[in-house]
Structures are given as structure tokens and as C-alpha cells.
């Protein structure tokens, strides 16, 4: 396998008139990985993906997709990439099958059509209706099939499960994982935390056109804030807990029960609690959603 990263972005800039959509994005995605690009609407996720396909031209920075410059070798990049746009639009008068065949013809008709049919069957996609008569969910299914149908080396998926029911969401995520198992790199954007948590190995968090952090999903969950609920056997003056570095008392129900927020290691807390009779000690990891919100809250506080 080629050792170049599947995606290498350095200091990518993109402005839409006065709006600074990307303000120096840096990102690297290794081959064969599933990478989640997480951020709220308007953060710059779609803009970054569209730069990778040369649909829009960056104002600065460098970009390599599968080791190629998308501006100079756009046809090659697109031939090896499957793209699912955030909102799929197509010639409404064509049937789904005719539409897929048009797209296949743009790829030189080198498609394994039985494979296309298998993909469609897996997500219950009827090929007969006209595109204009499809629901949002069915349009999304067409998008998924056309992105996967040529077995691309790189999948760029903009909100891949948007509009799908939970069962179909699971099936699409399975299909994406299978594509990865067959060697594809997957780069997908989302603002649905559970989806990223379930699918991605690494995640890039983008806010206001900059990648705030790129990190393994597990690491992110491990190293961030936790919560602990402590119940003492008898009433205790809990102020000593607040003096431990990294500990915040979130809720004090009564003198026997507290809810704590723990930042960093738990060693100091455990040692401090050991001096008191504890009847219950429960910890919980926050969901990625809570971590994500913490990012934004912190940033807003700084501003």
C-alpha cells in the first residue's frame, strides 16, 4: 500500500467574499482509516471536502489527495474517489437506474453492475422511480450507492446517514466499514456525535474554519472530563473535595451525596476519599457530544 497519507492538508484557506470559511486547516488522514470530521453547521466541513475534489479552489495552503494535487490532477483524484454530497440533487426526470447509469458512464462504464444492484438491495433502494419522486431518505440511499459503486480508494462522505431511518443508518455504517476493510480510506463529515463515535477511529474537530484538534476517538473520550457520584455512609463536610486540583463539585444533594467533575487523573480524589467511609462510588464518561459541547463552551468563554 502507498505510504503517503490519503489526505494531507496544510494551512488551507478559503474565503467566500468577506466570509472566511477555512482559516488555515491542517489535517492528515492515513490510508485505510476511518476519519470523522466533526463540527457544527457552517464550521467548514463541506468546504474542505469540496476543495479536495477541486469543486472549489482554495485561496491558500496545500492539499494532497491520494498523493495528488486535486487542482492539477483532478480527474485522477475523482476517478479514485467516491463522493456523497451533503444534499444529493440529480436530474429529476431520470429513474434511479438511469441516473446511476449516467453516473457510471461518466466513470467510463467500467462498473460491476451486479455489485451496484447488491448495494441497492442492501438498503432497500428501488431503482424504478424517477428521482423527483424520491423522499429525502431514498435520495440519500442513491447517494450512498453512487459513492460506493465503483469501489473507490477514498470515500468522501458529507453527512452520510442524513435523512435515513435508524435501521438504514446502521446498514450504511456497515457498508462504510466494509469498504474500509477492503482497503478504502473513509473521510466523513458529521455533526452527529453518535455516528462519529460509532464509526470513526480518529476525529478532527473543526470550528470556525480551523481544525481545533485531531485525535483518536478513544483518547479523546479517555482523557477528557469524567463525572463521579459519591455517596458517603454518614454526613461529611465535602469542602475538602473542592480543594483537590481538577475537581469541581457540580451538585451537592445533601451532606452525604455529591456529584463531581474530574479533569485529569483520579488518583488524588481516590486518596482523599479513602479517608472517609464511602458507600457508593460511580464514575461515568461523558458522551462525545458532551465533549464536543465542552469544546465550544470553552472557546466561547475565551472569546
Amino acid at each position: 500500500m502507498d505510504q503517503n497519507p490519503a489526505i494531507q492538508i496544510n494551512a488551507l484557506l478559503k474565503n467566500y467574499g468577506p466570509v472566511r470559511a477555512l482559516r488555515g486547516v491542517n489535517l492528515q488522514v492515513r490510508r485505510g482509516a476511518i476519519f470523522g470530521f466533526l463540527g457544527p453547521n457552517g464550521a467548514g466541513k463541506t468546504t474542505a471536502i469540496r476543495c479536495m475534489l477541486d469543486l472549489i479552489r482554495p485561496d491558500g495552503g496545500t492539499l494532497r489527495v491520494l498523493g495528488l494535487d486535486p487542482q492539477k490532477r483532478s480527474v485522477e483524484v475523482r476517478a479514485r474517489t467516491g463522493y456523497l454530497p451533503g444534499e444529493l440533487a440529480f436530474d429529476g426526470n431520470l429513474t434511479v437506474e438511469a441516473g446511476l447509469r449516467v453516473l457510471a458512464s461518466l466513470r467510463g462504464n467500467h462498473l460491476d453492475w451486479p455489485y451496484v444492484l447488491r448495494l441497492a438491495r442492501r438498503i432497500d433502494l428501488d431503482l424504478k422511480p424517477q428521482f423527483k419522486n424520491l423522499s429525502k431518505g431514498n435520495k440519500q440511499k442513491v447517494g450512498v450507492v453512487q459513492a460506493l459503486m465503483h469501489r473507490p480508494e477514498l470515500l468522501l462522505l458529507d453527512e452520510p446517514t442524513s435523512g435515513l431511518d435508524p435501521l438504514m443508518q446502521q446498514e450504511v455504517l456497515r457498508m462504510v466499514r466494509e469498504a474500509r476493510d477492503q482497503g478504502a480510506t473513509v473521510f466523513f463529515s458529521s455533526h452527529i456525535i453518535s455516528e462519529v463515535e460509532e464509526l470513526a477511529e480518529r476525529v478532527g474537530i473543526i470550528r470556525h474554519g480551523q481544525v481545533a484538534e485531531t485525535v483518536e476517538v478513544d483518547t479523546l473520550k479517555r482523557r477528557s472530563l469524567r463525572r463521579a457520584r459519591v455517596r458517603f455512609q454518614k454526613p461529611v463536610k465535602t469542602q475538602f473535595l473542592a480543594r483537590i486540583p481538577g475537581i469541581t463539585i457540580l451538585v451537592q444533594d445533601d451532606s452525604q451525596s455529591v456529584l463531581l467533575q474530574i479533569e485529569g487523573e483520579m488518583d488524588a480524589l481516590i486518596k482523599a476519599l479513602a479517608r472517609h467511609p464511602v458507600s457508593e462510588f460511580e464514575t461515568e464518561r461523558p458522551t462525545l457530544e458532551e465533549i464536543f459541547m465542552a469544546y465550544y463552551t470553552e472557546e466561547q468563554e475565551v472569546r
Binding site: R50, R57, R78, L88, A89, D91, N93, S105, L106
Partner: protein, 286 residues
């Protein structure tokens, strides 16, 4: 590129047949009308002499009305640049911007086809769609001429005014394509090209009677349109000029398309500043 051409032709087949057959039927009917006209030439000449010359100018002029070329100009070819021009302008402005505005272009250009091939494939297909319409109409005309007792024209002679008409329509189609790359929306590009076409028609029609219009008409494309008189022979310079400007517009449009950021559905383009739009000012003031 063939794929792109075939895709557009497939999409336009209804329009090609609709325009081609309806205009062809009109032409076939007109050819039969010429026989009656020739038989009643005396009466009609007297009648027409009472019409204001400005009015006749709008329908292609009065000169040689009873000759085949004069008749064809007045009844058909003088107005066709405006009528089929609407089709040419709408298809030209929508060729790329139509798909961009509905969000389809984003998906199509994410496939392995270069922008150059995509652009020229579509431009060729849209010019071919006009050519196919005109071929259908020409076949109907040739059929009508064959039946007519008075019109002594061969099929190839009949082809000449269609070549000239095609050149004119090609020019306006490529102009509206270029304008769609420059202006913020498909509708503004259609409007601008349409205004130029209709304005050109009026100025050219009135140029016989007004010196200012006559000078202005020299700078407008319809001055170099031979209409039905092309039956007598093609003006090579005029024809090359029309095709040349059409190609120039196509090339300029291509350069702009290569540099263009493809918008997704709902994304706006540039806008005139608010202070330049009177109705916006009024709304703001109120």
C-alpha cells in the same frame, strides 16, 4: 466527452422534437401559402402599399416580397432568430448554471471528467440540439418546396438560410452561456441576452428609417444576418463573423468556467450592492 454530449442530447430530445416539428409544420404550411400569394400578387401589392413602411420593416421588409427569398424572409426567417433565439438563450444560460442552481453540477463534476471536456461537451451538445431542430424544419421546408407549384428551389438552396440562422442562434447561445458565467444567476443571464436579441431586432428593423439606428445596427449581430436572402448565396464574411463571435464567447465562457467555484444548491453568487438597487432602497427606507 461523447458521454456528456449524449447525456445533454438525451435530455433535450423532447425540446428538439417539439420545436422542430412545430416549426417544420409551420414551414410546410407556408410553402403552400406561397402559391396562393403568387396567384394574387396584384391585389396583395395594392394592399401592402397602404401599410406604413415601418410596420412592414418589422416583418422583414417589403422588398421582393413576392420573390421566394423575399417571401421566406418576411414570413419565416426574419423572425426566427427571435423565436428560436429564445430556445438558444434559455439553453445557453442553463447549460451549466441550470445544473449548478439545482445542485446537480456538484455531483457531476465530482466524477472523473475534466472541466474542459464537460464544458465543451455540453456546449457542442447544445449547439447540436439547435442544429437538429433546424434540420427537422429544413426537411419540412424541402418537402413543402417539392409540393409547391410556384417555388422553384432545390433542397440545397433551401439549406443556405438555415445555415445562416444556425450561425445567428449559435452566437446568441454562446453569448448567453458566457453571460451565465459572468452574471449572478441564470435568470439575469437569460434576461441580458434576451434584451440584446430583441433590442438588436428592433434596432435592425428601424435602421431603414433612422440614421442613428442605422449606425447602431452596424454593431449588432442581426445586421449580419442574411435571412431568406441567403438562398441567393451565402455571405462568407458575415457567416464567419457570426460563427467567430460565437466561438469567442464560448472560449471566454470556458476560461471563466475553469476558474469557477462550483456552487451548491442554495448558495448565492455575487450581488449588486444594495444602494444600486432602487426597490431595495425603498424597502429599507420604509
Amino acid at each position: 466527452m461523447i458521454t456528456v454530449i449524449l447525456q445533454i442530447l438525451r435530455r433535450s430530445r423532447g425540446a428538439i422534437l417539439g420545436w422542430g416539428l412545430s416549426l417544420g409544420l409551420l414551414g410546410f404550411y407556408m410553402m403552400q401559402f406561397y402559391d396562393t400569394l403568387a396567384e394574387q400578387q396584384g391585389i396583395l401589392e395594392e394592399l401592402i402599399s397602404n401599410y406604413p413602411p415601418q410596420l412592414m420593416a418589422f416583418f422583414g421588409g417589403t422588398e421582393n416580397l413576392f420573390s421566394p427569398q423575399g417571401f421566406l424572409s418576411m414570413e419565416f426567417f426574419s423572425i426566427m432568430p427571435v423565436i428560436v433565439g429564445i430556445y438558444a438563450i434559455v439553453t445557453g444560460s442553463g447549460l451549466l448554471l441550470g445544473d449548478e442552481e439545482n445542485g446537480t453540477l456538484d455531483l457531476l463534476l465530482a466524477h472523473p471528467v475534466s472541466r474542459t471536456k464537460f464544458y465543451f461537451g455540453r456546449a457542442i451538445a447544445s449547439a447540436l440540439s439547435i442544429a437538429l431542430i433546424l434540420i427537422i424544419v429544413w426537411i419540412a421546408f424541402a418537402g413543402g418546396v417539392a409540393i409547391s407549384e410556384q417555388l422553384d428551389l432545390g433542397a440545397l438552396e433551401m439549406l443556405r438560410p438555415f445555415i445562416v440562422l444556425f450561425a445567428m442562434l449559435f452566437l446568441f447561445q454562446m453569448l448567453s452561456l458566457l453571460l451565465s458565467m459572468v452574471l449572478p444567476s441564470r435568470s439575469t443571464a437569460t434576461m441580458a441576452a434576451g434584451l440584446l436579441l430583441v433590442g438588436s431586432y428592433f434596432v435592425n428593423s428601424l435602421s431603414e428609417f433612422n440614421q442613428t439606428f442605422d449606425k447602431l445596427a452596424d454593431y449588432l449581430p442581426l445586421r449580419y444576418y442574411q435571412s431568406g436572402y441567403a438562398i441567393e448565396g451565402l455571405n462568407g464574411e458575415w457567416l464567419l463573423g457570426l460563427f467567430g463571435f460565437g466561438l469567442l464567447f464560448a472560449l471566454l465562457g470556458w476560461i471563466l468556467f475553469l476558474r469557477r467555484d462550483i456552487r451548491v444548491s442554495g448558495e448565492g453568487s455575487w450581488r449588486l450592492p444594495g444602494w444600486l438597487i432602487p426597490w431595495k432602497r425603498i424597502r429599507k427606507d420604509s
